[in-house]
Symmetry: C2
Subunit: 210 residues, 2 copies
């Protein structure tokens, strides 16, 4: 993918990937920009523009080869390889992430959870062990980990994140409702769940005076 | 709030609300657009522009009254009142939402969960009962519900959503990785969790060639 890609296009990439996977599972082998646009509620010209951004694909009058485009977007997203994840916090959110089928199906594999509750140490959630948070440094010294899921209480989120960065973690998927201060070379993507609910509330309230 | 507000501004509203709540809890009573900008990683002029959008507030040389602005944004978001929620699907995600403290703290109250697994009927999660999905129509006939959380398997998401709309539900918070077809008068906000993880993967991969 050459040059600058806007945040809006980046945010649409996973949607392309998902729709192309659905098309594959429906046995669809090629699709026009028009057809793709109808699925994604975008115009055909917007689709062509996006896909040009991804490096150009498709031929005039033929459209896109579904599998080729899906694989291409998978490579752009970096999900053509496995990611090893740890989950900080074995509470409700950490548990839900650990038990999800959809993350391993896309190559995101949970290898361990960490918590501060001694009652949880040694148990497993799904097929992943729950370990003592105090052992995180020793664990990271010998294990290769790509992503840490941060699902700890708000009050401790920054402190736990600092320990992760200090021990080589470069990517955090953050569920704590807090904007983490983080080193420049690291990547943080936030899932602020309550914000989604607040936006739903906003949209309900303003539906009829839009 | 008068006139058109862009999607980008709407998406920032919950962040304003969260930061103002934090400021209140720190005992801060007023804050300049500069100070607010530093917290939110926006420029002072962007902050002033956003807040003007919300209906104008603050005085030259004084800044913003933290509590007034927080309450004002809460009203815009529609979270100055209670919302009654049901959760469709008592799996990992439904469970995590039902057990969260942060939703009730913001006025989003779970009143029941619905599932298809008879073993779960009659149990409670947090303080909410799990009921038979087949009783949803009877339930909605007598209960007032503002929001349905959709946490059912992808394959059944659209069918369950249709039953909700047919029985008066106007707002869905959708965790199923599918773009729901929905009536014009309804509101859907999607939480496509795997998309967040894919965007994290993208950002990791492209960090050094940005």
């Amino acid at each position: 993918m050459a040059g600058y890609v806007s945040e809006a296009v980046i945010r649409r990439l996973p949607g392309y990937y998902r729709h192309l996977k659905e098309l594959e599972s429906e046995g669809v082998m090629q699709i026009s920009s028009q057809g793709m646009g109808e699925r994604m509620k975008l115009t055909a010209s917007q689709i062509r523009q996006d896909i040009n951004c991804f490096g150009g694909f498709g031929r005039q009058g033929y459209g896109y080869n579904v599998t080729e485009l899906r694989e291409h977007i998978g490579r752009i997203l970096g999900i053509d390889r496995m990611h090893r994840m740890i989950i900080m916090g074995a509470g409700n959110i950490g548990r839900a992430v650990a038990l999800s089928d959809s993350f391993p199906a896309n190559g995101f594999q949970v290898i361990a959870l960490f918590d501060t509750d001694p009652q949880k140490f040694g148990s497993t959630i799904g097929s992943s062990p729950v370990k003592d948070l105090e052992s995180i440094e020793a664990f990271l010294a010998v294990q290769s980990v790509d992503i840490a899921v941060l699902a700890v209480p708000t009050a401790t989120a920054q402190a736990v994140a600092n320990r992760l960065w200090d021990n080589g973690i470069r990517a955090i998927w953050n569920f704590a409702p807090v904007d983490l201060k983080h080193p420049r070379e690291t990547t943080v993507v936030n899932v602020h769940l309550e914000e989604g609910l607040e936006i739903l509330s906003f949209k309900m309230k303003h539906k009829n005076n839009a």
